[in-house]
Amino acid sequence: MSYLSLTTEDREAMLRTIGVDTVADLFRDIPPGVLFDRVLDVPPALTESELQQHLERLAARNKVDEVCFLGAGIYDHHVPAVVEAVLQRGELLTAYTPYQPELSQGVLQAIFEYQTAICELTGMDVSNASGYDGATVAGDACYVAKLATGRGRIVVTEATNPQVRQVVRTYAPGFGLEVVEVPADGGTTDPERLRAAAEDAAAVIFQQPNFFGCLEPAPSLAAAAADAGALPVAHVDPVSLGILEAPGNYGCALAIGEGQSAGNAMSFGGPHYGFLAAREDLVRRLPGRIVGETVDADGARGFVLTFQTREQHIRREKATSNITTNQTLLALAGLVHLSLLGPQGLRELGETCMALAAHTQRRLVDAGLELAFPDRPTFKEFVVRTGRPAKDALEAASAAGIRAGYPLGRDYPGFDDALLVALTEKRTVDEIERLVEALAA
C-alpha cells in the first residue's frame, strides 16, 4: 500500500497525544451492535502494475475498433491534445469547488470564460457553471420554468432525444409537473400543433437539430411557445452553433444542451457536461454555481462564486436546486476546445460535418436506400431506411468493421428498419463508401 504515509512510530506517537491505547479505541462511540466484525469481502489489493493489467484486460473486452457512425446524442468528434494536457494540470484536476476564491482564481476565471463562451454560442445573457449532462439540464429547465411561471405542465417534442425525455419524466412528478409530448410530423414538429399543446404550459422543450437530425422550424416553435405564455427552451448541439442560429436570437428563454461534442471523449456516456443558459430575468432562478467578476482589496480584478443565496448551503429547503457538484473539469475541456476552434474553426467544423452528412445521404440514395425524411434539411445526422430489420443491417455493417448507427425502432414505433446515422469531421469519403456498401448489400 503506497497511498498512506504514517509509520508505526507515527501511529504510536499520535495515539499517545490523543490519549488512547489503540486505533480501535477511537471507535468507542460506535454502538457494538453496529460495528462491522469481519474483514470486507472485496477482491484483494493490487499493485500498480497488476491494476494496470487488470484494467487493460477489461478495456480490451470493449469493442472500439469499428468506424463510428453512431451518434444519437454522443458523438465521435476529435478531442485536441491540448484539452487533455490542460485537464491533467493537478492544480485544476485535484481542486474542490472554489469556495475560497483567493486560492481558486484559475478555476473561477476559467468558469467565467466558459460562461462567456456559452452565452456567445447560445445568444443568451447568462450561463451557469455547467450541469451534470444534457439530460439533467432539461430537468433543471423544468424547475426554473415552474418557479418562473407558476404553471404545472411541461411540453416536450417527441423529436427530442429519448434520454432527455426520460429524465424530464422522472424529475417532473417531484416538481409537481405533468409532462405532455407533441408528436413529430414527417421528421419535424408542427408549430401549430405545438402552440395548442403549450396552452398553460410552464415550458416547451424542443431540440435543434432534433433527434432525427432534421432542422426544426426553431424560430416558429419558440414563437408558438411564447404566444402561449410558456418559456421556449431549445436543446442544442454546440458544434452546430457556428452554422445554426443561436436560440437567444429567436426568442428562447433558456438554451440547454449536451456539451460532450465540444471537448469530451465518449467514455461510455460520461462524465460530460450539460450547459444551461438563460435570459437575464431568470438569473436568480437558475440552479447550480455561477461565477461573477469583482475586485480585491487592492482594486484588482478577481472572480468569485456569486448569487449564492440561490443555493442549498444558504437557502436549504428554499434553494432553487440541491445542486453542488457540477462538471467544471468537463466544461473546462469544452472551453479549451472552443478556444482552439475560434469562430472560424467552429463554422468549418459544422460545415465539414454537414458536407459529409449530405454526401452520405446522396450515396445511400444512389445505392437504392430510402431516407426517412428526404425533404427535411439536416445537419450532421439523418435517418435512413435499410429495408430490413435494423439489427440485421447493424450486424452486416459490423462484419465490415462499421458501426452503422442507432436503431431508431428502440424508441419510435414504425422505424424498425431505420438507422440514425451520424457524421463527424473524423469520417472520410472512403469510410462512407464502406458504410454504403455494407448497408446496400
Binding site: 472485496v42 429524465v167 461510455f268 456569486t306 436549504r316 457538484t325
Partner: protein
C-alpha cells in the same frame, strides 16, 4: 491576468478542420446563424499557455494540504488517470450493444458489488451524477416504494437534523416532500426525544449523515432505527462522510434503506474544481424494483443492461452514469482491497490527532472523540479579538494551506470544520496545527494582521458583496472596447 478574450486577435486560430472535397449544403436562411459567436481567436501555443497560467493561480490536493471538511480531499492516484484514458474505455460509445461493452459492464458490476459490501445493502444504481442527485434519486425511491403500498399520499414528511448538509433539505423540497427539522442534543447526537415526537404515520423517512457533519458518530443510531422502522418509515444515509467508516460500520447494518456514495470523496475521483462527481445509490432489497434504468445484470460470464423494469422510477441521468468516474473509483478500491478499513482508520486517527493538538487554543463544542473530521469554533477569538473564522481561513493561505470548511455546520458559531483524510504525513498535520496555533497567537497580539489576510495569494481578499450588487457574469465585449478607447 488577462481573460482569454482579451488575448484574442481576429484571424488567429488554434486548430484546423479536415476539409473533404465536397459541396457544403446551405442552411435555410431563417435557420442560419447571422452573427458568429465571439469565441477567442488564438494559436495553439497561446491557448495552452493561457490555461497553464490559470492553473498556477489555483490550489489542488496536488499543491498542498486541503483539509476542507466534508469534502474528503484525499490523494488522487495518477495511475487512475492513465487507466481512464485507455482507448477501450475512452472511445466507447454509450449506445453500443451490450456485447460490445462487456468490459465496461463488468467494471460497473464489480464496482456495484464492492459498494454493496461496503454499505451492507443489496442492490446498486450507479446512475446519479453526484451526491445531491443521489439524494434526489433516493427520495424518488421513497415515493415509489410508498406509492406501491398505497401510502404515498399519507407519508409527506422527511425528517432531517439541523446539522444536515444543505443538500438534504433542498432535495426534500425538489422531491416534493415537506421538511421536518430535528434538533441536536448536548453531545452532538440527534435529539432522540425531539425526534420521537416528530415521527408518525405521515413520516416518509429520515435523511441522516453518520458520522454527522460535526464529525461525531450518532450514539443512538439503534434507537433511531427502531423509531423509524417502527413507524413504517424509511431511512436515507447521506454518504458524504463514508470515509470514516469503511470496513468499520456499515449503513445497512445501522438500519439505513438507501445510501448514496460520493465517489469523488471516499473513492478518490478528482473533483476537477467542482466536478465531475459520482453519486451511486445502494438500497435494501425491498427498494430494488424501483431503481433507475438501466441496471447492470450478470448472466454467468456475461453482463447486460436490463431496461425492462416496470416499477423503475425512470432515469435520473443519461446512460448508465459517469463511467470515467467509475473507472477511477474502481481502480482506487482495487488498490486498497480489504485495506479500505485501514484507509478509514488512518483518516480517523489523523483527525483525532489534530483535534487533540488544537482543542486548547480553539474551542471544541462537543468534547468527544471525533471520526474523520472535527469542528472547532472561533467564537472566543471573535469575541475577544474580533477575528472571525473567515479571517483564520484567509490567514491559513499565507502558511501554504487550503483552509477548512467555515461557517458549517450552522449549529456551531464561527465554525471551522477540519478533515485531514488518510493521505497526509504526520509532519503535514503538525505543520498545519502549528500554523493554527500561530494564527491564534497573532489574533491575540496583532489581530489586524489576520483580519487583512491573505497577503501571498494571486489576489487579496475579494469583494463578494460587490459581485452580487453589480453582477458581471460574462465578459462584456462592447464595454471593453469603450474602456480601452
Amino acid at each position: 491576468m488577462k481573460l482569454i478574450y482579451e488575448k484574442s486577435r481576429p484571424g488567429r486560430r488554434g486548430s484546423a478542420i479536415p476539409k473533404p472535397d465536397l459541396p457544403i449544403p446551405t442552411v435555410p436562411a431563417e435557420l442560419a446563424r447571422r452573427e458568429p459567436p465571439r469565441l477567442p481567436e488564438l494559436a495553439e501555443p497561446e491557448v495552452l499557455r493561457h490555461f497553464t497560467q490559470l492553473s498556477t493561480r489555483n490550489f489542488g490536493i496536488d499543491t498542498g494540504f486541503y483539509p476542507l471538511g466534508s469534502c474528503t480531499m484525499k490523494y488522487n492516484p495518477r495511475i487512475n488517470e492513465r487507466l481512464v484514458g485507455l482507448p477501450g474505455f475512452r472511445d466507447l460509445h454509450p449506445l453500443v450493444e451490450d456485447e460490445a461493452a462487456q468490459g465496461a459492464l463488468e467494471l460497473e458490476w464489480q464496482l456495484g458489488e464492492i459498494l454493496r459490501e461496503v454499505t451492507g445493502l443489496d442492490a446498486v444504481s450507479l446512475q446519479p451524477a453526484a451526491g445531491s442527485q443521489g439524494e434526489l434519486t433516493g427520495l424518488m425511491l421513497f415515493h415509489a416504494y410508498f406509492a406501491d403500498r398505497g401510502e404515498d399520499r399519507q407519508r409527506r414528511r422527511i425528517v432531517t437534523p439541523d446539522t444536515a448538509h444543505g443538500t438534504n433539505p433542498a432535495s426534500v423540497t425538489m422531491a416534493g416532500y415537506e421538511l421536518t427539522p430535528v434538533r441536536t442534543d448536548a453531545r452532538g447526537n440527534v435529539d432522540v426525544e425531539d425526534l420521537r415526537s416528530k415521527v408518525d404515520e405521515t413520516t416518509a423517512g429520515l435523511m441522516l449523515t453518520n458520522p454527522s457533519t460535526l464529525g461525531l458518530f450518532d450514539e443512538n443510531i439503534e434507537e433511531i432505527r427502531e423509531i423509524f422502522h417502527g413507524a413504517g418509515a424509511l431511512m436515507y444515509y447521506d454518504g458524504a462522510n463514508l470515509n470514516a467508516v469503511c470496513g468499520i460500520s456499515r449503513p445497512g447494518d445501522m438500519g439505513f434503506d438507501v445510501v448514496h456514495i460520493n465517489l469523488h470523496k471516499t473513492f478518490s475521483q478528482p473533483h476537477g474544481g467542482g466536478g465531475p462527481g459520482g453519486g451511486p445509490v445502494a438500497v435494501r432489497a425491498s427498494l430494488e424494483p424501483y431503481l433507475p434504468v438501466p441496471v447492470v445484470v450478470r448472466d454467468g460470464d456475461t453482463f447486460r443492461l436490463d431496461h425492462d423494469r416496470p416499477k423503475s422510477i425512470g432515469k435520473v441521468r443519461a446512460f448508465t452514469g459517469p463511467f470515467g468516474v467509475f473507472v477511477r473509483s474502481y481502480a482506487f478500491m482495487r488498490s486498497y482491497g480489504p485495506g479500505l478499513r485501514e484507509m478509514s482508520e488512518v483518516a480517523v486517527l489523523n483527525a483525532n490527532y489534530m483535534r487533540a493538538r488544537l482543542e486548547e487554543a480553539y474551542e471544541l463544542p462537543y468534547a468527544r472523540l471525533c471520526m474523520h473530521e472535527f469542528v472547532l469554533s472561533a467564537r472566543a477569538l471573535k469575541r475577544e479579538h474580533g477575528v472571525t473564522a473567515t479571517d483564520i481561513a484567509k490567514r491559513l493561505m499565507d502558511f501554504g494551506f487550503h483552509p477548512p470548511t467555515v461557517y458549517f455546520p450552522l449549529v456551531v458559531p464561527e465554525a471551522l470544520m477540519i478533515e485531514p483524510t488518510e493521505s497526509e504525513a504526520k509532519e503535514t498535520l503538525d505543520e498545519f496545527v502549528d500554523a493554527m496555533l500561530e494564527i491564534a497567537r497573532e489574533a491575540a497580539e496583532e489581530p489586524e494582521l489576520v483580519k487583512s489576510a491573505p497577503y501571498g495569494c494571486p489576489v487579496r481578499r475579494l469583494d463578494e458583496v460587490r459581485a452580487v450588487k453589480n453582477p458581471i457574469l460574462r465578459y462584456g465585449f462592447e464595454d471593453a472596447v469603450i474602456r480601452s478607447a
